[in-house]
Structures are given as structure tokens and as C-alpha cells.
Amino acid sequence: MLTYDILIVGSGGAGLRAAVAALKTPGLSVAVVTKTMPTRSATCMAEGGINGVLDFPGQKDSLDAHSFDTVKGSDYLGDQDAIDFFVEKASEAVRETDFWGTPYSRRDDGRVACRFMGGHQHARTNYSADKTGHILLHSNFDYALKSGVNFLVDHQLLGVAVEGSGDDAVCSGAVIRNVRTGEVVPVRARAVVLATGGYTRMFWARTSTPYIATGDGVGAALRVGVAFKDPEMVQFHPTGVANGGVLITEAARGEGGYLVNNTGQRFMSRYAPDKMELAPRDITARAIETEIREGRGYGEGLKAHVLLDLRHLGRDKIIERLPQIRHVGLLFENLDLVDEPIRIRPTAHYSMGGIDVVDHRTMATTLIGLFAAGECSCVSIHGANRLGGNSLADAMVTGKQAGLGCAAYAARAAMPGESALNRLADEWRDHFATATARKDGASPTELRDRLAEILWNDMGIFRTGERLAAAYAAVGDLQGEYATARVGNPSPVCNSAYTHFLEVGNMLSLARCSLLAAMHRTESRGAHTREDHPARDDANFLRHSLVTLKGGEYCLDYRPVTVTRFKPEERKY
């Protein structure tokens, strides 16, 4: 059987960083499984920068300030011990990647350049023009090549295997599918790191994330009893292109862009008079939706929007600092931001929730031998709302910690048995045969689109208990249809229809979890806005939602948030 000491699933920033960190322990064999060529992940789409307070004399910023901003940004749902650890490591990550070759934009004195992002007291978002994610992903990929990382390209994760039961249960590897040949491959490993990215593609029609961000790892963890933490916490980025949801980065606002309604007013003055356009994402997204709901937007229904105006920045600044944004404007709206404002509306952007990580130093989950990193994981650092620039920092920090954590574990762990892997592989072989044999049934892409519409309408920026309950039932019905849906292609060779079929299955399941947790969180906190419960309720909900799958049923439980230095207070900007 194909065997490694460490198997990493996912090749975005977190997965690559984990692989390199794991290889620092001599003698361990490490492989990275990825369903695409390694550099196609969501990391490359991050534009604004990577947060990290760089230590130099005379500055006002501090690790404490970054910590506080992150806690406050999370609307106090972030775990403060984990956040303190995170900001310290984030600072190290910027210097470390600089040393590996990440080309950061520079100040005149040669230091890494940084900019302001929403929700931060200081400029601490280090950047490389407006392509920081792309640059970080590629420099991590280069560093992985340099370190000798092996890749299993075009392999889709099917499931995680568990050997033994009860207290003896350990992760024994994963079953993957070679997409090129259709072969179902059990891979034995002492440790598995899931770094598969977020699940925001469940909002298929209105999301900024790549087509591949379908929550495969979260789904696999859920199926082996690991909890999905805070699944209701999905960040809506305020500035998606009206046509399809591709992102206009926050850097556009950071550099001084205006948000304008149909009366020509900079409406953020009503919602965050001090911060204006630099208010955090959740507040800005709600402001835009409120303008639209109250008739001060342009257009109707799903086509409604407001405007983002960059013209006053001038041609040179736009070309120098925001070239990627300008390109997106040309591509999706066929206009030049130098000359015209662009139509924007919030878009599903980031998964704060994810696989329940119980140790922020090792990124271990509750299943021994299973680790998680990056957007698929939930520590929780971001709580109910992530600050701009903290996602790349998260990928670098949690990736590295997972790599170190799994290597330390793998160095002393026994090689697990093969029986569970063989059983799981047989189940998946049967699944392919059965699913692809069906000639009729619902189309998975139709189910996916219906899911996206339900979620946008009922689990979007404004939520109510009634609509969430109806959506929970409706998505349950979609799952019923999915059970007999057709794939449309019986060939084992490069069957991308089957790949997507499985992705849709994961998204339906994860949507159920999100709806369940959202329905029962009867308060408003961060990205989760309940119109029927507009206030934050610290007495009852200063705790993480934990959804598990038991015998086909979705079960909800809670765990208290770790509060250390910063006592919850009203979140105002």
C-alpha cells in the first residue's frame, strides 16, 4: 500500500507551508495531495497583504495591538490564547517568507512596505503590490520545490480513514482518487494534515472564491466524527463585482476608495463615521445591503448594487498600487477604474468556521493523527469575523504549526494498520460504480445552483430564525434528491463530472451544518446578523458552535470561548 509518514491534503498556502515545515524533521516522508496543479488555490487570489507587526524602533504598533484588533474584529468569538500566539507567529512569518524569497513591496529604506486595512489601528498589512497572495503562494511553492516536497497532482480526497475505535481510534491515512485514471488509492500515513481550503463555494453564484473551494476536507473530517466549528460564520466581503462576485480587494478602500450610493453620497458616514470606508468587512457589507434595501442602491433584486469610486486616486496610483483590481474591472464589467466607478455588492468570501482544531500550537483535531490548517481549519483565530490581511497570516502560521505538530507526532507514532483504509477504498469504488451507473435523477449542477440561491436568500447578510429553519429543511430535501442524482459521465478517465458530483455532496452537507448552527445562534455577532435577535448575547453565546454528524443526523453542541486579557465590550468603530 502507498505509505508516507505524513500526508498533506491541499496545496494552497497552508498545505505548502505545512509540507516544508514537516520536512524540517529529517527522515520523514511527506507527500502533498492536490486535486489540481499546486498553484491553483484560493491563496493566489488574496490581494491586500499579510498582517504581521514588524519590530522596529519608534513605531506605535505592537503585538498587543494586533491581538486586540483581531479579538475585537472577531466580535469576541476568537480564542484569545490562540490569537496571542497567532500574532506573534504572524510577525515571524513575514520575515521568514522574506528570507525565503517572497518579493514584498519596499519602503525607501528597504524594509517591507505595509498598508492600512479595515479594522486595524495601525498599518501592519505587509504587501506585494496587490498580488500578495499570488506572490506568497508561488514563493511557498518554489520553497517546497527547493525542499524536495513530493506532489500527487490531480488526486481528489475521498475520505479519511480511522483505525480502531473509541479512545484507541487513530487516523490511519486517506483514500484518494487519481482523477486522471479513476483509480481509488488508499494511502497509509502516520499523520494526515487537511489543508483543503474554505467552503464558501456553497454560495456558488455569489462568491469570490475559486471553483475548487468546496470544503472537501471539512466534509471528510465531518464523516469521521470530527466537529465542524462555527460553521455559520461566513464572511461576506463588501466589495464583490456585481457581475458574479469576483473580489475587488479591500486595498481599494485602504488606498482611499469611496463607497457611493445612488444619491452620490459616501454613505459609510452613517455606519462608521470615524473609519468610513475602512470599517471592518461585516459592518461595511451590512451598510451596503442596507443602502440597497432602503432604496439607495442601483438596480433591482439580485442585480442591485452600489458604486466603488477610485477616480480621485488618479491614474498613476491606480496603475502602480492596484493593477489587479483595474484588470478585474476590465474583465468583468468592461470598464477602466481610472475613468469610471465600478458596480459592487457583497460576496461570500471567507470561511471563519472549519474543522475543529483543539491545539493551536500543533493544529491537532480531536482525532489522533489528524491535523488541519488554513481556511479549512477553525482554531478559532477569526471568530465571527476575520480582519483583512489575517487570512494569509493564518495560512502561513497555522500551516507551519500543523507541519511542525504533525512531524513531532509522526516521529513517535506507530504506523497504523491497513484494514480501515482497504474497507474505505472498497466503499468508494462501489460509490463510483453506483453513482455513475444512474441514468436519470437530478443534475448535480442544478442542485448546487438551488443551494446557492437558498443560502444567499436565507443565510446571507441578514438572517431570521424562520427563514433559516425553512432553508435547513429545504437543503435537507436537496440532499434527498442528491442521493439519487446522476453524474452524467461513466468513464473512469479524468471524470471531472464525478469530481464535481462529490464536491456538491460536500457543499450540501456543510450547508446543513451552517444552517443548523445559524438557526440556533439567536444573537447577532460579527458576520452572523439575526434581524430577529439584533443584539450580541454574551451570556448565552460567548461559545463556539460544534456540529457533528452522528448516524446521518446533524448534532449541535457548544464549547466556551477562551477569554484572557480582553473583556468583551461593545464592538464599535
Binding site: 520575515r95 525565503w100 520553497y143 489587479q324 479524468c494
Partner: protein
């Protein structure tokens, strides 16, 4: 209603065929949006790759009428206008092994990318705990090369690769080597250049396809040229490539005109020129391409210097001082 047809090269692992898909024209669609529509409304078995749809992940490069483009970054309407027809031929990237339909195999390319020795080997004054220092100007000097999204478009149309993949690399690999070789933070530029020297640095045929096809407007051909300069400056002047370039410069400086009779012996050495190239030379004499007297004159003497040779020499000397 105007109908658009995509004639797509299909391959299922054993069988190849061309399949036409017709659909209604909607203004403002990208090529990728068209492919997705075909897969979701006509044939779920059509295979292609796509991820970010905003021209930054590099997953969706395909060939349209024989030219590599990034599908998400290319407007259908622009192609229709450019080609003046409503049928477009869609094929997988060239110079790649095809897995199925428009999906190509990146394994070999990733392994070859390792030859560029990617990853920075930073200078001794820098550290992992302190990071590096770099001037804005030095950052800008490598910024363009870092725009590479590994989409493969440059490799698809590379004429040298089409001739043989055995003694040349994908143009993006040269760009990767160049971005580390030219980084002011690098301890040893030649680490990256040497790997390229051993893998075809002097074999680029300057067809410019890589520069023309790059959706990010990178010019791998220029990266190749700059690394040739670095190799020569670093003393790696052995081999026919550097000698060929040197022969050009010698002629330019001496007379301003290319002495083609001396070019071959200068590039390959007198022995190779006299033996391997003899039949070719004789054929040139026979066809009247080259006069015997003229050849003897050019071999023992040279061309007359062109008018304004002094100015030309001045430029060459200045360039030499600049490096």
C-alpha cells in the same frame, strides 16, 4: 439569434475526436464562461480545468485556433472580431502531455521547474528571524517575473520545445530562474543560471512566441537573454552559444557587418566547420549562394567597415562599460 460553435479537441485516454458544440451568442462572455456553459448544459463529460476565473491562478489556459490564451481572461467577442468567424477551434495546450480533452499533465513540468533551483538562497547578512532589506528599485527589477501564474501558455507555442523537449525547458522555467538570479537578496545568482546553462539556455530560437502569448506580458525570451549575459559575465563563455554571440559582437565592432564565412568557424571551431559543414558549403558554392573568391576574401580579410562605424563602436564600448 447568432450561433457560436466551439470545435473542441476531445480525448478520452485512448480515442481522439473533434466535437462541435453550438450555443447562442451572448455579448460579454469569456471563453471560460462558454466552456462552463457547454459542460453544464450540453455535455458533462467535457473535461477542462478552471479555478479562480480572474486571471490569477493559471488553471484555464487552452488553445484557440492554435494560440494559447487564458480562457477566463479572453473575451469571446474579441476573438470573434479577431478571427472574423463564428466557429473557433479549442484545443489543449501544445507541448504538454494531454490527459483528457483540454486537461494537460503538469507532473513533468513541475519536475523540470526544479532545475531552476527555485527558492531564494539569501545573502549572509540576512536571516529568517530578521528578514531581508531590498530597495524599491531592486524589488521592481524582479516584480514582472513574479507575475508568472504557471498557466503554460508560453510553453504551448514555444517553437524550440515543439522541436524537442529533450534539450530545452518551458520558457516559464527560465523566467523562474531569472527572478532569483536577478534578486538583489540572492547570495549566488549563478546557482540559478548554471542550471539553465545545462538545460538549453543558448538554444532559444528567439521566435518570440512566449512573449507574445504570456497573458501577464512577461517576456521569458528577455529573461533568457539576461541570463546569457550573466553567464558570460560570470566566465561561462565556453560552448557554441556564447561563441556565436561573441562572433556577432566581434563583427559588429570590427566592421558593422556580419561575416557569415567566419561565423561558423568562430561558433563551432575550425575543425567542425571544415568537416561537418563542408558539404553544406559546397552546396552553397554550387547553387551560387556564395562565390568562392568572395568566401576566400571574407575568410582571410573581412567586410569593409560600414559608414558610421565609429559611432557603432562607441555604443558597444559604452554598453560594455555599463555591465
Amino acid at each position: 439569434m447568432r450561433t457560436i460553435t466551439f470545435a473542441i479537441d476531445r480525448f478520452d485516454g485512448s480515442r481522439s475526436w473533434t466535437q462541435s458544440f453550438a450555443f447562442d451568442h451572448v455579448p460579454g462572455m469569456t471563453v471560460l464562461a462558454c466552456l462552463i456553459r457547454i459542460r453544464e448544459t450540453q455535455d458533462p463529460s467535457l473535461n477542462f480545468t478552471a479555478s479562480c476565473r480572474s486571471a490569477i491562478c493559471g488553471a484555464c489556459a487552452v488553445r484557440v485556433n492554435g494560440n494559447a490564451v487564458l480562457a477566463c481572461d479572453t473575451m469571446l467577442d474579441d476573438l470573434l472580431e479577431e478571427w472574423g468567424q463564428d466557429t473557433l477551434r479549442i484545443a489543449p495546450l501544445g507541448n504538454f502531455t494531454v490527459i483528457s480533452d483540454l486537461v494537460v499533465n503538469w507532473d513533468e513540468k513541475i519536475e523540470r521547474l526544479r532545475l531552476a533551483r527555485p527558492g531564494l538562497h539569501a545573502r549572509a547578512e540576512f536571516s529568517a528571524s530578521g528578514g531581508c532589506r531590498q530597495s524599491p528599485r531592486d524589488f521592481q527589477a524582479i516584480q514582472k517575473q513574479w507575475d508568472c501564474i504557471l498557466c503554460g501558455a508560453c510553453a504551448s507555442e514555444c517553437n524550440k520545445l515543439a522541436d524537442s523537449r529533450a534539450d530545452f525547458l518551458e520558457p516559464f522555467t527560465f523566467t523562474h530562474a531569472s527572478r532569483y538570479a536577478r534578486d538583489s537578496r540572492s547570495a549566488d545568482s549563478m546557482l540559478h543560471v548554471n542550471g539553465m546553462l545545462d538545460n538549453g539556455l543558448w538554444k532559444c530560437v528567439h521566435c518570440m512566441e512566449c512573449a507574445t502569448k504570456c497573458p501577464k506580458h512577461i517576456q521569458p525570451v528577455e529573461d533568457i537573454a539576461s541570463m546569457r549575459g550573466m553567464a558570460t559575465a560570470g566566465g561561462r563563455t565556453d560552448g557554441p552559444g556564447p561563441r556565436h554571440a561573441q562572433a556577432f559582437r566581434t563583427d559588429l565592432e570590427n566592421t558593422g557587418r556580419l561575416n557569415e564565412v567566419k561565423l561558423v568557424p568562430r561558433t563551432e571551431g575550425l575543425l567542425s566547420a571544415a568537416t561537418r559543414r563542408l558539404p553544406f558549403t559546397l552546396r552553397m558554392f554550387a547553387r551560387g549562394k556564395l562565390g568562392v573568391g568572395e568566401a576566400i576574401h571574407l575568410f582571410f580579410a573581412d567586410n569593409r567597415p560600414v559608414e558610421g562605424i565609429d559611432g557603432l563602436r562607441k555604443i558597444i564600448r559604452q554598453r560594455r562599460r555599463d555591465h
